[in-house]
Amino acid sequence: MKILTLVRQVPDAEARVKISGGQVDLEGATLVMDGMDEYGVEEALRLREGGAAVEEIVALATGPKRVEDALRTALAMGVDRAIHVETDQALDPIALSRVVAQVAQAEGVSLILVGGQEADWDSQALGAATAERLGWPQLTWTNELALEGDTLTGRHDVDDGNESFRVPLPAVVTTQQGLNEPRYPTLPNIMKAKKKELRKDTLDAYGAAPTVRVVGSDIQTRARLNKMIDGKDPQAAAAELLDLLRNEAKVIA
């Protein structure tokens, strides 16, 4: 079987984001593979290392030339080859799902792994839209996966806890933090990745023109309360902190 793992490129979590001309300005920002997708790449590798009959792991990305860097990271982590659908157009999740579904069919993959949400586009729609197009089952927000033959088992989050599932392949799975701890692309693997295939493709073949256009962006700013607690009496300070966390911030029960 083959696994397709989607790779998106987003600003590093520590990057400072600017807006210019109503658009997010990525100039000078460090761009990395989306963490959510990284869990997918890692899980594909672990499924194979765990003994599942995975004959090939393919990474797919769409976007401008710079997205190659994220694909090379996936190759260096251990993915076998990569496909880059190069375009300067920003694809909304529905348009992107058209590309993912067609590549999955053309490549004959039976498992698609995509991040549950994207750091810079939080629609959470890509996995579902891809599954819908293909008529495959989808398992969202997984935190454990195992493959036995053509059957995928695992656990995933639901509103008030989690469920265990069993599903025959093909299927679409969305990944999230907690599924695994992604490996570093080691230096020897970075060197080996040089020789792996990174195939270029164009968007026209997929009929995936985006219909949603971003016309403006704003950075969310949060006013801080800057509440200070007098620490002279540690016990009273701790009690006050607990009270604030419990009753004002409501972050503990």
């Binding site: 860097d69 570093y184 230096l187 990745a193």
Partner: protein
């Protein structure tokens, strides 16, 4: 003609080193500094991801990275902690004489085992009474049949005593000057080799610095690098290369000093506004940025010359002296930006100053670098 872009692989190894510094070095740097302890777990992790001993050539089972690659990694790791980076850097320093003066057979024999498990190398040149005047060394090597017998004491040896192999420089005739010097590879646990850890260093406390004592230490003649009399030349050729990572590490320290200063200057308020809004602070930040950018250009140029097999002695000396002086100033100013808080361990800037001081001293003092530079001007 000039292209400042990195290759795809270089961008990735830089990113790997940056992630490694952020996740594996920064969280433990203060702790190892306080404990004055070599961080073996970090060395082991560096080995796992391939960041240890990157210069070992492909024919000996290594990655054979170039000097530009090594320096890009060095800047990132030193950003996390110069002391911890010194452990790795000093190992590359210990390997380099074998690359410079060893045969392919020697490179395989000594270096291939180092690719198989986490292991360090060391370079033993300085002595208690002898540093910059390296050719005047007192440690002796006497040929006895097919073995060299080494006697003497080496000082300030990074990784000294814990390294799997140490390249030691000795003289076969104390009156013979540099023409009597020889470079010998001494494996760990060779009888007669012992070490004393040097304690209470100002900075770089995560790096182990030792006094190495040789008492009738015997190594086979096959462990001799180059010919008789080549020792000094091998040492100098080695340092011409390895002082470039010192420059790169210095740039890493300066970048950390700037980042910490920018962060603090935006948070700290005085006279009703963040101190970042005062020109006195802004100019310090600008000065640091000027040093970092120009320093990086210089270490990259020197490293590029090495990779092109072009002469690089003067450029590496400029890079080392310039970058370490620049980084010392940056760390010093970072403390000034932080005021009283910068003087105590709660913020990482006081450690930057303690650590960077050594960059002005080791692998040839900055005064020796200026001797190298001026000799090139006047020859």
């Amino acid at each position: 003609m000039i292209d400042f872009s990195l290759t795809d692989e270089q961008k990735q190894l830089q990113q790997l080193a940056r992630d490694f510094a952020r996740k594996e070095i920064i969280p433990v740097a203060a702790e190892y500094d306080q404990k004055e302890e070599l961080p073996w777990p970090v060395v082991e992790k560096a080995f796992e991801v391939g960041l240890l001993n990157v210069a070992i050539p492909e024919h000996a089972g290594g990655l054979g990275l170039g000097m530009v690659d090594e320096c890009l990694i060095g800047e990132e790791l030193a950003y996390g902690c110069m002391g911890i980076y010194t452990v790795l850097m000093a190992s590359e320093l210990g390997i380099t004489p074998i690359l410079v003066g060893g045969t392919e057979e020697q490179q395989k024999r000594f270096l291939t085992p180092m690719t198989e498990k986490p292991s360090l190398a060391a370079f033993a040149l300085s002595e208690p009474n002898n540093g910059s005047d390296a050719a005047g060394m007192h440690t002796t090597a006497v040929l006895d049949g097919d073995e060299w017998v080494i006697n003497g004491t080496k000082m300030w040896i990074s990784n000294g005593g814990v390294a799997d192999l140490t390249v030691v420089f000795a003289t076969t005739d104390r009156q013979g000057g540099h023409r009597a010097t020889v470079a010998l590879v001494v494996p760990k646990d060779t009888p007669g080799l012992s070490y004393n850890k040097i304690k209470h260093k100002l900075g770089q406390r995560a790096s182990l610095t030792s006094e190495l004592v040789f008492e009738n230490v015997r190594v086979p003649r096959a462990n001799q690098l180059g010919g008789l009399g080549d020792g000094f030349k091998i040492a100098m050729k080695t340092l011409d290369k390895t002082r470039i990572p010192v420059a790169a590490g210095s740039v890493g320290i300066a970048r950390r000093a700037l980042d910490e200063s920018v962060k603090y200057a935006k948070e700290r308020e005085a006279f009703g506004k963040p101190i970042a809004q005062f020109q006195a602070i802004q100019f310090k930040l600008a000065q640091m940025a000027m040093g970092i950018e120009t320093g990086r250009l210089m270490y990259l140029k020197a490293a590029w010359l090495v990779d092109q097999n072009l002469p690089h002695g003067m450029e590496s000396a400029i890079a080392k002296a310039y970058c370490s002086d620049m980084a010392f100033d940056a760390a010093n100013e970072a403390i000034q930006v932080h005021g009283g808080y910068g003087y105590v361990g709660e913020y990482p800037v006081e450690k930057l100053l303690r650590d960077v001081k050594l960059n002005q001293i080791y692998e040839g003092t900055n005064e020796i670098q200026r001797v190298v530079i001026s000799r090139n001007l006047l020859k």
